[in-house]
Amino acid sequence: MPELFPLSPVHYVAAPLLAAFLLPLVAKLSRSFIKILPGLTFLYVLYVSAVLFPHALQSPIIEQIAGWAPPLGINLYYGPMAGLFASLFSALGFIVWLYSLTQMKQEPLDRFYILLMMLVAGATGIVLTGDIFNLFVFMEITAISAFSLTAFLREDDKAEAGFKYILIGSLASTFVLLGIAVLYSYTGTLNLADLALSMEKVPLSVRVIVFGLFLVGFGIEAEIFPLNGWAPDAYSAAPAPVSALFAGITVKAALYALARVTILLFPFAGSMALISILGLVTLVISELAALHQKNLFRMLAYSSMGQVGLAIAALGLFTAEGVYAALFAMINHAIVKGMLFLAVFAMAGGSANLDNLNGMGRKKPVLSFMFTLGAFAIIGLPPFSGFWSKLSVLTAMGQTGNYIMIAIVLATTIVEATYYLRATGRLYLSEGSPVESKTPLSAIAAVAVLAAGILWIGFFPGSIDEILTAGAQDLLDTAKYTEGVLKD
């Protein structure tokens, strides 16, 4: 086949964009296109992943946009880590699309799918881009989609949650923009690789301030304590398929940005230790808060922050094992938490009170089973994916001799086990109301794909070992990154 359009990482962004611009047009032709087009887009992007990712594992693909070599132009950096995240995001996007086919009924559907596609595309852009201002633009794309989706259902207090989110989110982007302004005024460049090489032009005290600005900016999006007040409201307000994406995609993209920027530009021990401590604090506080929640979505939201805290704590160790463990925790969390949100919504509906789970074990055995699976995976029981990810986190902490960290992680695991087992107990031990409702097959299939992922990683952890190792190396090897980008 003659290659008219050589496949390149830019397709991750260009294809959803084209589809989003096309959607209002095709919606006029036939309403059924509204649902089909996003699915085709996600499939196409997955195909791009399937072709490009094996190459990226060998050597990173660096693409220039508009034919300008960095630092003049914007470049995309598609290394093992970016590839892993981009593929994961596309897969999650596809699964959520499959799920929302039957579970998402609120109009206007065309707008819903546009926002959904751009949420995924924006997060992918954050991961791919090699230019810090471009990162900001993609962050805004993701954020505006997320704001609008939070208030999408328009009932009860959804708009309030959306307003809270937009307020904090705008402050986050202002902080990032200010950080970019400081960096630019000292170095005169915006390319990440070029910035990494010019950082000695920035006085140390200013570097600390810029790090603070980025930490606050990305920390808000990544739900780091104490900047995560918006998250439980947003998670419980957004349509459930979207909450799954918030946990799986938005947070991961912000974490990736934080990790990439910190390791490239601020690789001093203090910044790493600070990140680690913040991660631990986030972990402890969120898990304790999750214990008291009656609303399932809020419980999952707090649990989600806890998982993010765990990943950040591991990331801050700044060793190959630590980054490996952080990556593993992030991927595990994206899959498991995404599945839990989807399963809970299919069982309990929008008003996800804990009581709604009562007796579901008999009424919806498949979904209940998968929820249980996810709960076990989050707690870290063998033989599920969560066990390996938690084990790798503990190993990494053990290797650096942080036994206090290990103790904290183990203690929070007990808290986690308490509330997840309580929820699971409701499924099987309580009597429920005899209301019957059918869950469509496509929704169950969407959840099942994620459950299969949990089991696959659980039984064959070796299968992603190579990818994670490459990803961790990719993130830590800044010299390779800068040389690769600026080789001309």
Binding site: L4, F5, S8, V10, A14, L17, L18, A20, F21, L22, L23, P24, L25, K28, Q64, I65, A66, G67, W68, L72, G73, I74, E107, P108, R111, I114, L115, M118, G125, D131, F133, N134, V137, F138, E140, I141, I144, S145, F147, S148, L149, A151, F152, R154, V182, Y184, S185, Y186, T187, G188, T189, N191, D194, S198, P203, S205, V206, I209, V210, G212
Partner: protein
């Protein structure tokens, strides 16, 4: 108490921001990539206005993202206000016939001005965003000046879609015929002429239409929203 805390926080942020910028000399050149842009804009992109060449060519990817942000805002706004469309609000005063006629007469001129600004984006200050906004204000004038006027949303959304597709397709053509996304594949022409600077005017015209249609849509959606169930 809260006031004290806030003042402290503001002082804290203000102090550190000031510290960060205190070392930045005002009015002196800090250019690194900026210099390259200034030196290469005319020979390499054919655009006389460096800001335009940066926005549309060197950093065109940002602009694609920016257009998308606006598109998403229009989309999200429509979703949030969905179902709040009421009967057109009674205008307190009927627009006088002078206003109505004036609006109708001025509208083409405003559109022309907007179009002039985005067509000449590579030559003079201004471009797609500014021109598009001017067109949107023209539509606003129609909304205000003509009783029961409603923007044709179907037309606006078709215009918006086509303009957006033009931008992305320009990018994909760059990928197909050049080497990279958004690469310029058209001849640069003589700098200073309207038909020069390769693909820049085309993209800026698309941006202009898109921004104009989006903002007009936003204004009309907001105007035709009720004040809630009163």
């Amino acid at each position: 108490m809260k006031k004290l805390l806030a003042t402290f926080l503001l002082g804290f942020i203000g102090f550190y921001l000031y510290t960060a910028f205190a070392g930045v000399p005002f009015g002196e050149s800090k250019m690194k990539v900026g210099k390259d842009y200034l030196e290469t804009t005319v020979p390499k992109t054919g655009a006389v206005n460096t800001v335009t060449s940066i926005v549309v060519n060197y950093r065109g990817f940002d602009t694609l993202g920016e257009v998308t942000v606006l598109f998403l805002a229009a989309t999200g706004l429509g979703a949030i206000l969905f179902g709040m469309k009421g009967k057109p609000e009674d205008k307190h005063r009927e627009p006088s016939s002078i206003l109505t006629t004036g609006a109708k007469a001025l509208f083409p001129i405003i559109v022309l001005l907007g179009a002039y600004i985005f067509i000449h984006g590579h030559l003079t200050p201004g471009g797609g965003f500014q021109g598009g906004t001017i067109i949107a204000t023209g539509v606003l004038m129609l909304i205000l000046g003509i009783k029961k006027f409603h923007a044709n949303h179907a037309l606006l959304s078709i215009m918006e879609s086509l303009a957006g597709i033009t931008f992305v397709v320009a990018g994909i053509l760059g990928l197909a015929f050049g080497k990279t996304f958004l690469e310029n594949i058209l001849p640069l022409g003589t700098p200073g002429q309207v038909f020069s600077a390769g693909v820049i005017p085309i993209i800026y015209v698309a941006v202009g239409f898109k921004v104009g249609a989006e903002l007009a849509g936003v204004l009309d959606t907001m105007m035709s929203t009720t004040r809630g169930e009163e």
